[in-house]
């Protein structure tokens, strides 16, 4: 006595209470009395915070003018940032040479675009351009001395420009170094492994400030007489070593995520250790660790503010220096808010990118 249904039921739209604005609100805002209360309280908090911020940063703020006398509102005095904008962006880089920095930015931006986006499939040439051509070109562009470009001392570099240079050079150096350290840490040779572990754990265990301090004031004591490095270079060495230790851990995570079978397959095909590493393991490991690498980069980028300790005038310090100008005393809040905003835009952009990438790689695995 089978019961058989012959008529097929058609697909109906869900009841109204489930969809649209009402359904959404019911589901997301008022699903229980507690939730409803939370919603109301939160909305009040948001209103309170937003109205404060907006009136400080926009409604009561001053945008036009040249000096502090033009600041009449009770809110922020953005005139300060406007007046000092050049210095904040380029530091003491000579005004007539600033185009060189801009050209460098453009070169790097083009490379970044092609490497990071999906526009081109084969990343070989863009990568070569970004990781070989751009650094070399930027080096000559920024420091000058060749091709009829006037020399610009690194002591004149500053502001956002210096921050970007510090961050990009240290990521650029720390990545290969980190890979070497990560491989060393997984090496079967106990001494090599111990050294790598020792270095990584030491560097990760001490604050960047002390590392910078050491690089800045103690390095010269370690070097033979007469040998001396530019202060910027010393900061770069310190930051690169520091981030290399972190990078090593990121890369190690990537290496660990590669199934053992990959190495075995490579070996069984007759590939040697370095061939297998270079052709099979590392490409995959690096690819899956890109999100974490980006996160390390974010950390590094934020840490550039610490070079203040050793007297390099990065974005934060140059803004602070601006507030020591007697024309602009008391503009500290505006300064910090502005610096915070700039950093936030960069870091948030990077973190979104890493999330996007993570999702992309994730779906990539599931064919």
């Amino acid at each position: 006595m089978a019961i058989v249904k012959t008529e097929r039921h058609e697909d109906l739209p869900p009841p109204v209470s489930q969809t649209g604005v009402i359904g959404w609100m019911r589901e997301n805002l008022f699903s229980s009395p507690l939730n409803a209360l939370l919603t109301v309280v939160s909305i009040y908090v948001i209103y309170w915070a937003l109205s404060g911020i907006i009136s400080y940063a926009f409604i009561n703020a001053n945008f036009v003018g040249e000096t502090r006398e033009d600041c009449t509102g009770s809110g922020a005095c953005w005139v300060f940032i406007k007046a000092r904008f050049g210095q904040i962006m380029y530091g003491f880089y000579p005004v007539e040479e600033r185009w060189r920095v801009d050209v460098g930015y453009v070169l790097a931006a083009i490379g970044l675009f092609f490497v990071l986006s999906d526009v081109v499939k084969n990343k070989k040439w863009p990568a070569l351009y970004l990781f070989v051509f751009v650094p070399v070109a930027c080096f000559f562009l920024f420091s000058g001395g060749y091709f009829g470009l006037e020399v610009v001392e690194t002591s004149q570099w500053g502001g956002l420009f210096l921050t970007l240079v510090l961050a990009s050079v240290s990521i650029f150096v720390s990545l290969p170094l980190g890979i070497v350290l990560a491989l060393g840490r997984r090496s079967s040779m106990p001494i090599v492994r111990m050294l790598c572990v020792g270095f990584i754990e030491f560097v990760r265990g001490v604050p960047l400030i002390t590392v910078l301090f050491m690089a800045s004031v103690m390095l010269p004591l370690f070097l033979p007489e007469g040998m001396n490095f530019d202060k910027l270079i010393r900061a770069l060495v310190g930051m690169s070593l520091f981030s290399a230790a972190y990078m090593a851990e990121v890369v190690r995570g990537g290496l660990q995520a590669i199934p053992k079978g990959q190495m075995e397959a490579a070996k069984s095909l007759g590939l040697g250790y370095w061939q297998a590493m270079g052709l099979i393991i590392l490409p995959q490991a690096l690819k899956i660790s890109i999100p974490s690498i980006v996160n390390t980069f974010i950390g590094l980028f934020k840490d550039t503010t610490l070079v203040l300790i050793i007297g390099l005038l990065d974005l934060l310090s140059i803004v602070k220096a601006g507030t020591t100008d007697k024309e602009w005393v008391g503009m500290a809040t505006e300064g910090y808010v502005f610096v915070a905003a700039v950093f936030w835009v960069f870091c948030f952009g990077m973190s979104r990118y890493s999330i996007w990438l993570e999702n992309k790689l994730h779906t990539g695995h599931k064919r």
Binding site: M1, V4, D11
Partner: protein, 256 residues
């Protein structure tokens, strides 16, 4: 029709589903489900992947919310009332495809957790009950191990024992054997058969035709969110009425 159903659903009816619909967002997963399960009845649900089998039985203990129609379990209607939901969940045991044992607890602790914290049973008593059911599923010697140390078949049997420890009147099984290696399937099926023989009310989503033939009182075939055909197993396998069922059975039997 729901009138007639209601009067009937007093004592001898374990589960009654009346005109139930469910949507996932815009997607209409379950369409006008009507089903009455008597006490002690053993029902096997089958159908192609994505037809809504899991969703249906998950609605029965409110792991999913239905949006239209009624579900009455043991005389209690499922609404948003948390108390009622708790009551029903205590009466309805569920065994999942992937066991979902608690990996941080030993087998014994897995089995006693709910009795102790939900039923407020004294620990010693809960442990005694748990050992009883572990013996029942033939793995008392594993009681102090952790789930990670057991094979799949053993894990699934622990999952069954865990449900039984709450003394449910109804058991739901969602493809309990499909994540198992072939050698282990029979262990679990044997346990289920012995349960069935004791007269437990069971709804079981499975494609094990052998099991269906041995124990089921009724086989329900679902497709695209609807119950297409219901029949006793012999009739269902030998003489399927609907075309859709015939097609499905031909595939299944071909593969086996």
């Amino acid at each position: 029709m729901s009138e007639a159903a209601k009067t009937q659903s007093q004592n001898d009816v374990a589960i009654q589903i009346i005109g139930m619909h469910k949507w996932y967002g815009e997607f209409h997963v379950l369409k006008d489900i009507n089903l009455t399960v008597d006490r002690g009845e053993r029902i096997v649900v089958c159908g192609p992947s994505g037809s809504g089998k899991s969703t249906m039985i998950r609605c029965i203990n409110r792991l999913e919310e239905h949006q239209q129609g009624q579900i009455i379990v043991d005389g209690i209607e499922l609404t948003n009332d948390v108390k009622k939901i708790d009551e029903i969940r205590r009466e309805v045991g569920m065994v999942f495809q992937h066991f979902n044992l608690f990996p941080h607890l030993t087998v014994l602790e897995n089995c006693t957790l709910a009795p102790i914290w939900v039923r407020k049973t004294p620990k010693a008593e809960a442990e005694a009950t748990a050992m009883k059911f572990l013996e029942r599923v033939k793995i008392p010697e594993q009681a102090l191990k952790y789930p990670g140390q057991l094979s799949g078949g053993q894990q699934q049997r622990v999952a069954i024992a865990r449900s039984l420890c709450m003394n449910p009147r109804i058991m739901l099984f969602d493809e309990p054997t499909s994540a198992l290696d072939p050698e282990m399937i029979s262990e679990v099926l044997d346990t289920m058969i012995s349960l069935a023989e004791e007269g437990m009310t069971m709804i079981c989503v499975t494609h094990e035709m052998g099991f269906a033939k041995t124990v089921a009182d009724r086989v329900i075939f679902m497709d695209a969110g609807e119950i297409i055909e219901q029949a006793p197993p012999t009739e269902f396998f030998e003489n399927p009425q609907s075309e859709r069922t015939q097609l499905f059975l031909s595939q299944i039997l071909h593969n086996a």
